[in-house]
């Protein structure tokens, strides 16, 4: 056994004569080529991802700690942890949190309603629809919702006809509440996509067992259903948080860039709306976002490991 292994790993020396050209320079070249073949084959991908992901990330870290005249400084970090930039982080965090929790909970109900509907058509429609809608951020949402809830929007008129003026409730589509409402359009389908496999993992036999032991529907959910689903729900919410926290296009086009959210502030920085002496502050905001998103994803991978326990 060990002999054949040695032979396989090093044919040139341990099995003399099997390779007639051993010792010639051309075979040496070939052997070097064969040894480095994996490295050569994988190199384009690694170089590309380094240039496209590594270099920009390193640039963000580098500039975040450097002043506009060069030299190492904490100045940018100080700026973004105070004042308007801190408010930006707080708003973004709040936006991420609310648009993780609300669509997160609604998404579970929606997914459960679809799953238990016993309608194949409905289930097929949702699985396709959710796949499309979850990938559906961007500027189209802005125009759809302006036509719905803008000052001349259809729903605005309908509600006015029945005597409801949304502005009285503090709701306008171009501010924080509006952005929150619009984000649900891709957050809700994303949650349905994430949670549906987990709902499929709830065995009917568990419910039957609970009922045989006299548990009510409430007790079944309290002690079996929700504890089993919890890691998946949390995982889904973490994904939703990341997706809302980092979104730029919809918020930027909907509010025309005047809302204090971290991604929008980076955008304003790149568009040249910078106060003198704060020329590198955009990088520090980006670094802050990177840190928060990395923490989110670490939690996500931990929770996911836990969730996969019941998903077999």
């Amino acid at each position: 056994m060990s002999k054949s292994e040695v032979a396989a790993s090093d044919p040139g020396t341990s099995v003399p004569g099997s390779d007639a050209t051993t010792g010639h320079p051309s075979s040496l070249l070939r052997r070097v080529l064969r040894k480095s073949e994996p490295a050569i084959a994988i190199a384009p991908f690694l170089i590309y991802t380094f240039l496209g992901l590594g270099v920009p990330s390193l640039a963000v870290i580098y500039y975040a700690f450097h002043g506009n005249k060069g030299g190492w400084t904490w100045h940018n970090i100080h700026l973004v942890t105070h004042g308007i930039f801190l408010i930006g982080f707080e708003n973004s965090f709040k936006l991420g949190l609310i648009s993780a929790i609300v669509p997160g909970i609604l998404g579970v109900f929606l997914a459960y309603a679809i799953q238990t509907s016993n309608s194949n058509v409905l289930r097929r429609l949702t699985s396709t629809g959710a796949g499309v809608l979850a990938n559906f951020g961007g500027i189209n949402l802005t125009f759809m919702f302006l036509a719905t809830l803008g000052s001349t929007g259809i729903l605005t008129y309908w509600l006015r006809d029945v005597g409801i003026n949304l502005a009285n409730f503090g709701f306008t589509i171009t501010t924080f509440s509006g952005v929150l409402f619009v984000y649900m359009y891709f957050q809700l389908p994303l949650m349905v996509l994430v949670i549906t496999p987990a709902l499929g993992g709830l065995r009917p036999s568990w419910r039957e067992a609970a009922e045989n032991m006299g548990a009510s529907s409430w007790r079944y959910w309290r002690h079996v259903g929700i504890p089993v689903l919890m890691p998946s729900i949390l995982g889904g919410m973490l994904l939703l948080f990341g997706s809302a926290f980092a979104a730029y296009a919809t918020a930027a086009s909907l509010t025309l860039g005047i809302i204090a959210l971290s991604p929008i502030q980076i955008g304003n920085f790149l568009n040249g709306n910078v106060i003198a002496g704060q020329t590198h502050v955009g990088y520090a905001i980006a670094l802050g976002m990177l840190v928060i998103l990395s923490i989110t994803m670490i939690f996500y991978s931990l929770v996911r490991k836990r969730a996969s326990k019941w998903l077999r």
Binding site: G52, V55, P56, V132, F136, L190, S243, N271, G282, L293
Partner: protein
């Protein structure tokens, strides 16, 4: 995040299909009725939330200035200032992105599957990074780090779109390669005298055609919907044009353009999802399930 940011959602879509629906066999009629009522409310609300904005957008684009039904906006769209230039730019970027993405990802994915399966975990992690690092952070880094000559070319966007598309493209290829018996195919081809290139071109590629197609279509949809990077790199692609045009004009043209973009993306993505499903169904049938 930009469109197509659903964390590899395509694969979760096919997962839904494979799940069996739990049937609560002991449910009493009373509870059933209660459930049905509850379900109806949830589904009706969700339906309203998802359909009304769509209806509103389409209705808005089919109105003239007096609010009457007309195709005026769609008629004017091709002649609107800047539209054809934006469309040309978006098309160029899309083609460049699809070509580079295919040339980069297909050989890498195949090689890793055949020769270096131990690297698959590394690739899984690396290709998910563009979801963790959002486009807004990437673009500020790119604009800070790259030299002027690179920033002067619109193809810098294509370069970055390949990165943005990576999670979807790699996942698609990974699933496609996982579904075929790669080892047998490669060994058969090699023992018949085919070299590496021939094996890839004549044997592997035809077998992963659906995965390749869905990867390409997803890339196309991504390039045509991407706003963050294009607007901050100051290139007027179609989405950037729509937003800028809406500020400078008061017509319904940009809503019409947005609706066309939306319907186009929608059709593409539905095609991909159903293609995916028919693909997985075919595999399942072949495996005798």
């Amino acid at each position: 995040m930009a469109p197509l940011s659903g964390a590899g959602s395509l694969y979760e879509v096919s997962e839904i299909q494979n799940e069996t629906v739990p049937e609560f066999s002991t449910g009493s009629t009373k509870r059933r009725r209660h459930f049905r009522w509850w379900r109806l409310v949830v589904l009706a609300l969700a339906g309203a939330y998802f359909l009304i904005p769509l209806y509103a957008g389409i209705k808005f684009s089919l109105q003239n200035a007096e609010g009457h039904f007309s195709f005026q906006a769609y008629d004017k769209l091709p002649g609107a200032p800047g539209f054809s230039a934006a469309l040309t730019l978006s098309l160029k970027l899309a083609v460049a992105t699809m070509v580079v993405s295919t040339l980069l990802m297909v050989p890498t994915a195949i090689y890793v599957h055949v020769r270096l399966p131990q690297l698959r975990r590394v690739l899984d992690v690396v290709t998910v990074l563009p979801i963790v690092i959002p486009p807004i952070v990437l673009i500020i880094g790119v604009l800070g780090a790259y030299p002027l000559w690179a920033k002067a070319s619109p193809y810098l966007l294509s370069f970055m779109y390949v990165i943005l598309a990576m999670p979807f493209v790699y996942r698609s290829l990974d699933a496609g390669l996982g579904a075929i018996d790669l080892k047998t195919l490669t060994e058969a081809s090699r023992s018949l005298g085919g070299n590496w290139l021939k094996t890839m071109w004549r044997v592997i590629l035809p077998n992963i055609r659906p995965a390749l197609l869905s990867a390409t279509v997803l890339t196309l949809a991504l390039v045509f919907g991407e706003y963050t990077m294009a607007s901050l790199d100051l290139w007027q692609t179609i989405p950037v044009w729509i937003v800028q045009f809406s500020i400078s004009s008061d017509g319904n043209i940009q809503v019409a353009a947005s609706m066309m973009l939306l319907v186009g993306t929608w059709v593409l993505l539905v095609a991909v999802v159903s293609l995916d499903r028919s693909g997985s169904r075919r595999t399942r049938r072949r495996m005798g399930e």
